[in-house]
Structures are given as C-alpha cells and as structure tokens.
C-alpha cells in the first residue's frame, strides 16, 4: 500500500503530517499523548514493549518507537509535537531530537544553528522543479515592475 504522492513530498527531508499520516499514525500519537502523565511515563519506562501493547501499533511502528528512530516514526504517521513527548520522557529537548533526526552530533547541530541554521539553498526541492517563492521573488521585482511602481505612486499621493 504505497503512499499517495503529494506535491509536498518533493520537499527533501520532510514528512508532512497530513490526513493519510494522521490516520496511519493515530496509535503512535495517542501513545505519545499518554506520556503526558507521570504514572504512564513510569509504566512505559518499566516495560516499554509491554506498555506499547495497549495501543494499536504496527510491528514497524513498535520497532521505531523502541529503537527511538524518530524519522521512521514520522514516516509512519507520528507527528513531531507528539513524538517530542517520548523525547521528553527520555529527558530530551526538541533541539536534541532535531540533531538526532538530522544525523548530526549535538555539538555539530548546535554549531550549525548558531551559524544561522540550515540554508534553504539546495534544500527546497528533490526534483529541482518548483515555482520560486512569490514573496522573495516579488520583493526582488519591486524596483523593476511598472505595476508596483504605479502602486507606490498612488500610495504616496494618498499618504
């Protein structure tokens, strides 16, 4: 049962939490929600595989949770705001999980963020075929296009 391809599947390294993933990952996400309670966090930590049996997880989902394979959890329908509760149960922050998902060491990831983060250049599209942003492209075009010139003129009249 292959996933129906969506236009946003063209974004590299990204699992968009859409209706299909939400349906598929309901069990993972409800398991993660249960970790909002201290008693459940303890019960899970005491017997992880046993605890997971209360939720409707596929074997692949169970394996991803037990192995803390965060990317796989997202691929199988987990959502980051939910899986982060599993991270919190292990004592990890969002930034820690982000480093894990990118395959970086904690130090390397922190250094990348301090240096301005991961650039959008080269990270927009797998296929390389995409419409440029109306926002950034539009900002560039402001000076040249007669339409925006006219607009700014009329604005100065009013103001």
């Amino acid at each position: 049962m292959a996933r129906k391809q969506q236009e946003y599947d063209d974004i590299p390294g990204t699992f968009v939490f859409d209706a299909e993933r939400s349906r598929q990952g309901y069990g993972i996400n409800m398991f993660c929600m249960s970790l909002m309670k201290e008693a459940n966090r303890k019960a899970f930590k005491a017997n992880e595989a046993g605890y997971l049996k209360q939720f409707k997880l596929t074997p692949a989902q169970t394996e991803a949770v037990l192995k803390r394979d965060y990317n796989r959890m997202l691929e199988l329908g987990g959502n980051i705001y939910f899986t982060a509760k599993l991270g919190a149960t292990d004592g990890h922050s969002f930034r820690h999980l982000a480093a894990v998902m990118t395959g970086s060491s904690q130090d390397d990831y922190a250094a990348m963020m301090l240096a301005g983060g991961r650039s959008a250049e080269g990270n927009r599209s797998k296929s390389g075929r995409f419409k440029p942003s109306v926002l950034v492209a539009g900002a560039k075009a402001t000076a040249g296009r007669s339409k925006s010139k006219t607009r700014s003129k009329s604005r100065s009249k009013r103001g």
Partner: protein, 308 residues
Amino acid sequence: MARIIAGVASSHVPAIGAAIDNKQTEEPYWKRVFAGFERSKEWMAEAKPDVAIIVYNDHASAFSVEVVPTFALGCAAEFPPADEGWGPRPVPVVQGHPELASHIAQSVILDEFDLTICNKMEVDHGLTVPMNLLFGSPKQWPCPVIPLAVNVVLYPPPTANRCFMLGKAIRKAVQSYPEDLRVVIFGTGGMSHQISGPRAGLINSKFDKAFLDNLSKDPKKLTRISHLEFMREAGAEGIEMVMWLIMRGALDDKVEETYRFYTVPASNTAVGHIILEPKTRSAGKSKRPAAKVKRAAARMKSDIRRSK
C-alpha cells in the same frame, strides 16, 4: 466601542519558556534573544491594553489527534497552563474575557467563520511564551486574554488568505462591542524553522525579512503564499506564520511599524517580533505610545558574533 490599538507578532519557541523558567535569561545565548524584547515590554506597559487576543497554536497539549479544530476560540473565564510533559509552566493562570470572547464568536460565526468554542481549555507555551516576552513574568498577568487556537499541526492549516479574512472579521466584531475596551491582538509562532525530519534546522532569513517587510506594507502579498511555499521556504513548522496574518487582518490597511526584532537562533528557530500600530489615532483618546523605537532590523550576524 472597543477597538484594536495595536498588533504584536512574536515567535513562541518552547526553549524560550524553559530559559525563563530555569532562570537562564542572563546567559549570553539567551540574553541576545531577551534583549530584543526589552523595549517591547516598556511599550506594552505604557500601552496598557484592557484585553489581549492571542492567536497561537496548541502543540498536542489541549488537543491531541482525537479532536483537531481549525479555529478554536477560548471563551472560558480562565485557562490553566498545560502540563507539556515537564509539568505545567510556573506562570499565572490566564484570565479570560468571556463576554468579549462570546461576542467575537457570535459575530464571526455570523460572518461565516465556523469557529469552535472552548469553554474549558488548557494553554501551552504557544500562548504563554509570547505573554512572558511582552508582559514579563508578573505574579498576575496584567490583562485578560482571549486565546484563539489555530490548527497548524495537521496538514492543511487554514490558508494565509483565510487567516487574513478572519482577522478582518475579528476587527469588525471588536468594533461592534459596546464597552470602551482597548484591545491588542497577538499573532504568534514562526518564523522560519523546521524541527522534524532530516531537514530540521532550516532557517531562511531572507524569506523572514521579506515577510516582515510585507507584513507592514503589503500584507495582501502574504495572503497569496501557498502552504507548499511556506514549507519549502520557511520549514515544515514555519507554516505557523499564517497565524500572524490573523493579527494583521485585524489592523488597519495602513499601519505604522513601531518596532521590529529578528535574531537566529533560539533553539531551532528564527525569532521574529514586530509591533504595528494604526497610523491615525483618535485625538486625545490614546497618548502616543512609548518613545518611538528604532528598528532593530535583521542583525542576526552581529548578534551571533556578540553572543559568542
């Protein structure tokens, strides 16, 4: 008549809340972030709104995958801080304004925005972090708050244009409320960030800056940004910026940009903040806001250098 006296936008990074709660605000990394809000707190203390409408998103705290409302308006008398897995944040309980909230609900529903009404709701860092940034950490919050939770977790969130139009409907609702209330509206979340998957850590300062510029001058342009474009350019979680457009829609077409701050990073996120005010003020009613503050425009690089 109630009226909207200003719009404020701010990121709502959970780590900012943790830095406040763990008293790390003086550490160089965090000082760089908090310094950008010092003038804003002064501005807010002088603006003294009677009510704040805060547009934010819940992060699997009040709403799990069981119920996912697109727009949920908090009409309760109070909203306790949620336990997000680390215990509830040590912030005061948020007091609501049930009368104005239900008035807004009625008005915008009749304007064809089918809101969900929440008469019991816990609120997470999405709401309380921007409150700390603008109000500081008082024993009691200085004004009642009407939370408006927007789904940006399950794809698709409402479109940028729909958010902008909802802002307009909220403006109309506020203006038809008989009591003379001064209202500030917050848009929260963003700016560019991705916290999920191998592309986590994405930041696009160019996009963010263009977004801030247009938020002041040409918000209509922002209403044409598609979800795909938000996710491609500003990260999967950067799509939160649609919430800023609800705030912007609730303001006059023309606004004055009173203040801006931008820095990278706070944890995984580009922190953006802006204060917008109406260009014309009804004479005598409101005094001029705090001394006009110069833009602390995108000074990301120098900020980073200083923080090292």
